[in-house]
């Protein structure tokens, strides 16, 4: 791969990985991989669409089916994996936050400050206010909505990848940037959320058929301090914004799901209201930065002349760039 084929995502991922290894050390990254053993499934879940698209391309290429030759070297398989790489990388860096070494940077949790901000503006943190509505059915609905953060991004990415490759890249880059901004927030404002930090504020226990198994599985994945900002809110906001660029109908279909997802972060007692606001801010910043970064990449490429391999379409027949 030549320098001109480098993408913004490659530079960001390389820089972030370099900082990660520099800060926590290679041995800790290895330890992080070890702890991924049981938490590996979320990365697999997120890259599953890419794996299936790549398998389909590989079958076309291996059995010389129609269109595979036009898709590029190796039937475009490696390009598909590279296109989707930011998703896998984002998940990996999130998992790396499970390492206790991060707590050495700023060891004191900031839950008290976050609660104070909520109380200053709202009188009480909304998670406490919402417990009056808690019931098994609503808890199950909220749990399902909370789980959507693993479903909506790969679903939208898959839709965009089929028809709007440029938008797909902007979307994934925005997700990657939001992840990085969010992880900086986790480091600077470490907090564990109202449920863990202030159990005494809650007089009701949440129950539900879906609630316990799903939250247990998600709790196992959670980094210990992943509260400020809410990346659930940040990434689902990015999903909503980019779904509008796909179609108005998709936007309207996703809108209630995303709204429920936002409410679920508070209802399930994972976040303070200020985390949600920060999540929206991170999403806005990530979308702007992604657009700027891709413009910068285009400008640099234009200055350097055309790259040797610059198809701006995904490796499948019949797809063209449209944004």
């Amino acid at each position: 791969m030549s320098f001109r084929e480098l993408r913004v995502e490659d530079v960001l991922a390389g820089t972030f990985l370099g900082c990660l290894v520099g800060f926590v050390g290679i041995s800790s990254v290895r330890a992080s991989l070890e702890t991924l053993e049981l938490n590996f499934w979320d990365i697999c879940f997120i890259v599953a669409p890419a794996a299936l698209i790549a398998l389909a391309a590989a079958i076309r290429f291996a059995f010389r089916l129609e269109g595979s030759a036009a898709a590029g070297p190796a039937g475009g398989v490696f390009r598909i994996l590279r296109d989707w790489f930011p998703f896998a990388f984002f998940s990996f860096t999130y998992e790396a936050f499970g390492l206790s070494v991060w707590a050495t940077l700023l060891p004191h949790d900031r839950d008290a400050e976050l609660l104070r901000i909520d109380r200053f503006f709202l009188g009480e943190t909304p998670a406490v206010l919402l417990q009056r509505l808690a019931g098994p059915l609503l808890t199950d609905v909220m749990t399902a909505a909370y789980f959507l953060h693993l479903v909506l991004p790969p679903f939208l990415a898959w839709l965009l990848y089929r028809k709007q490759w440029v938008v797909f890249r902007q979307f994934l880059l925005a997700v990657l940037l939001a992840g990085m901004l969010g992880q900086i927030g986790y480091m600077l404002v470490p907090a564990v959320g109202p449920q863990r930090a202030f159990p005494e504020l809650f007089t009701t226990t949440m129950t539900g058929e879906v609630y316990r198994p799903v939250t247990n599985a998600l709790e196992a994945l959670r980094a210990p301090r992943d509260v400020f900002p809410s990346l659930h809110v940040g990434i689902s906001t990015i999903v909503l914004v980019f779904s509008r660029r796909r179609s108005r109908r998709l936007f309207l279909a996703l809108l209630p799901l995303v709204l429920l997802n936002w409410v679920s972060t508070i209802y399930l007692r994972y976040h303070y209201a200020v985390d949600v606001l920060a999540g929206w801010a991170v999403a806005a910043l990530a979308i702007v930065l992604a657009r700027r970064a891709l413009q910068l990449e285009e400008a640099l490429r234009g200055r350097a002349g055309p790259a040797p391999v610059t198809p701006s379409t995904p490796p499948s027949p019949g797809r063209g760039p449209s944004s």
């Binding site: 290895r30 330890a31 053993e37 790549a54 590989a58 291996a62 039937g75 599985a217």
Partner: protein, 267 residues
């Protein structure tokens, strides 16, 4: 199907899909590069494809064994889980730190002491990666398994050697040190160990039971009553707590509670 099974299936099927993708691409690229005619091309492609898929066999089989372990654990079938854990290891699988911890928790909680001892010994034979605090917890679990197997000296050595464990396991280590001290006839040592266990987790009722039982015999009901009140102040009991209820009844009657072995569910 439980979330644990779904997440395991996802985490094994997606790598298999990716491996198959690479096998298909590699077989096609190699066949096109080295074959001179269409027949040779087909033969080389087919051979490489079959070889590549066969090479994935062990991973696929280990995945199946892992899935069966989880399924057996899900339906609380201890014997089935042990059988599939052995199959997984025979197929070359090596459970990592978290999975070992999960399996140990299940085996100890089901009272499968020999299987949990063998699993811990196998895992401890591997050097853990730096940064993974697994050795201490495993040593404690190994000590517990050996305690129940009657391997007293080895159990004591394991509990003593458990350096840097997860703090959640310390109350268990102290508790079993107390049980082992009792086996040696060291009542003061046992009382200290149970008290230390309750300092780590005041809500751990087995330690409270053994402490009160020994204090009644060693120092009289008053001392036992004082200890009970102290612990309950730190970890209040619900009105229907059977262990606290039994202790209170014995203390009211001025009798020592009988010796009792508790079944454990590990955190």
């Amino acid at each position: 199907m439980r979330t644990q099974l779904i997440s395991l299936a996802v985490s094994r099927v997606v790598p298999l899909v990716l491996l198959t993708t690479f096998v298909l691409v590699a077989a096609r690229l190699v066949a096109d590069r080295i074959a001179s005619g269409p027949r040779t091309n087909r033969l080389i492609f087919g051979g490489l494809l079959v070889l590549g898929l066969l090479l994935q066999g062990p991973f696929a089989l280990r995945s199946f064994a892992l899935f069966e372990v989880e399924r057996a654990m899900d339906r609380r079938d201890g014997e089935g889980a042990v059988r599939w854990m052995e199959s997984f290891r025979r197929l070359g699988g090596r459970p990592g730190a978290l999975r070992t911890s999960r399996w140990m928790g299940f085996l100890v909680s089901r009272g499968l002491w020999a299987a949990s001892r063998d699993l811990a010994l196998e895992r401890l034979a591997d050097s853990p990666p730096p940064g993974v605090r697994q050795g201490g917890n495993l040593r404690i679990c190994l000590g517990i398994a050996r305690y129940y197997l009657g391997e007293t000296a080895a159990a004591e050595a394991d509990l003593r050697a458990a350096g840097d464990p997860d703090p959640r396991y310390l109350y268990l280590a102290r508790y079993f040190e107390g049980r082992l001290a009792e086996r040696r006839g060291d009542v003061p040592g046992a009382i200290d160990a149970y008290a230390a266990s309750l300092v780590k987790d005041p809500a751990f009722r087995p330690a409270l039971y053994q402490l009160v039982r020994l204090l009644v015999s060693a120092s009289g009901p008053e001392a036992a009553r004082a200890a009970l009140s102290r612990v309950l102040a730190a970890a209040p009991a619900p009105p229907d707590d059977p262990i606290v209820g039994a202790l209170a009844a014995h203390l009211a009657a001025g009798t020592a509670p009988p010796g009792k072995e508790f079944e454990l569910v590990l955190p």
